[in-house]
Amino acid sequence: MSADTVNVRYMVGDVHQSVDWYVGHLGFSVQLNAAPAFASVERGALRLLLSGRAASAGRPMPDGKLPEPGGWNRFQFVVDDIAAEVERLRGEGVRFRNEILSGPGGSQILAEDPSGNLVEIFQPAAAFAPAR
């Protein structure tokens, strides 16, 4: 693992379905598939850990709380053309929680994976885009 690899864990309802979603819609590649318990998929510097109920990360807490998908924390999926990306994803049946928002730093929209976890599609404002 590269020192700069970033690991993020999402709880998911169905590991198979989640792997298909991240590979099919967002261009991830499968690193390890131990479905139905666990899978990891990679894209660039991100390793996304997809944990199902049967994974060690799916075990209940001592107070009985059960890990579950959802919430608002998310990774950013950076694109050059957010309108085109959203149109493509909508055409593929991807659900969104809101519409494109424009702020000083760029534009963003929240896509939902099949379990209801968020992915933030983000296009940096032209003034702030890193020189290439």
Binding site: V6, R9, A45, K65, P67, P69, R97, L101, P104
Partner: protein, 151 residues
């Protein structure tokens, strides 16, 4: 929200992008966003307890921290930034849930002891899994952070 807030945010973001492209080239940084109750308290926690450094901060409105290849965006539940706005159906962004960054460590037991002494709240005890050992702690807003030691 004040009229100056977007301008301050723009300055912060400009700084962040410049520093990111200068320091982290050639790879682009990987960013995740956490929703927090209090940006300054969160900045103090992540820098003081978990080894993050501040790339930029717009007071209580927004902050960007970095650790290795990770940039952590901290957005408040109420503020001028886009990530703080309610959804069209009325739902409001809030901290919590189970989605988290995973911080690798070579001394999980030692880190847990140090953090417990510092008053950090843990959701569970160390779990022995197939790939290694892990534990979940809460940031000041109740967002989870996973510490993981490969087995």
């Amino acid at each position: 929200m004040t009229r100056t807030a977007p301008f301050v945010l723009a300055l912060v973001l400009s700084f962040v992008v410049q520093s990111a492209s200068a320091q982290d080239a050639p790879g682009e940084p990987m960013r995740i966003r956490y929703i927090v109750k209090d940006v300054p308290a969160s900045v103090a926690f992540y820098t003081g307890q978990l080894g993050f450094r501040v790339l930029g901060q717009a007071g209580g409105s927004f902050a960007v921290l970095a650790r290795g290849g990770l940039q952590l965006l901290l957005s408040p539940t109420v503020g001028p930034g886009g990530a703080s706005r309610p959804m069209p159906d009325g739902r409001k962004p809030e901290p919590g849930g189970w989605t988290r960054m995973v911080i690798y460590t070579s001394n999980l037991q030692g880190d847990v002891e140090r953090l417990r002494k510092a008053g950090v709240h843990f959701r569970n005890d160390i779990v022995i899994g197939l790939g290694g050992n892990e534990i979940l702690l809460d940031d000041p807003s109740g967002n989870p952070v996973e510490l993981f030691q490969p087995g």
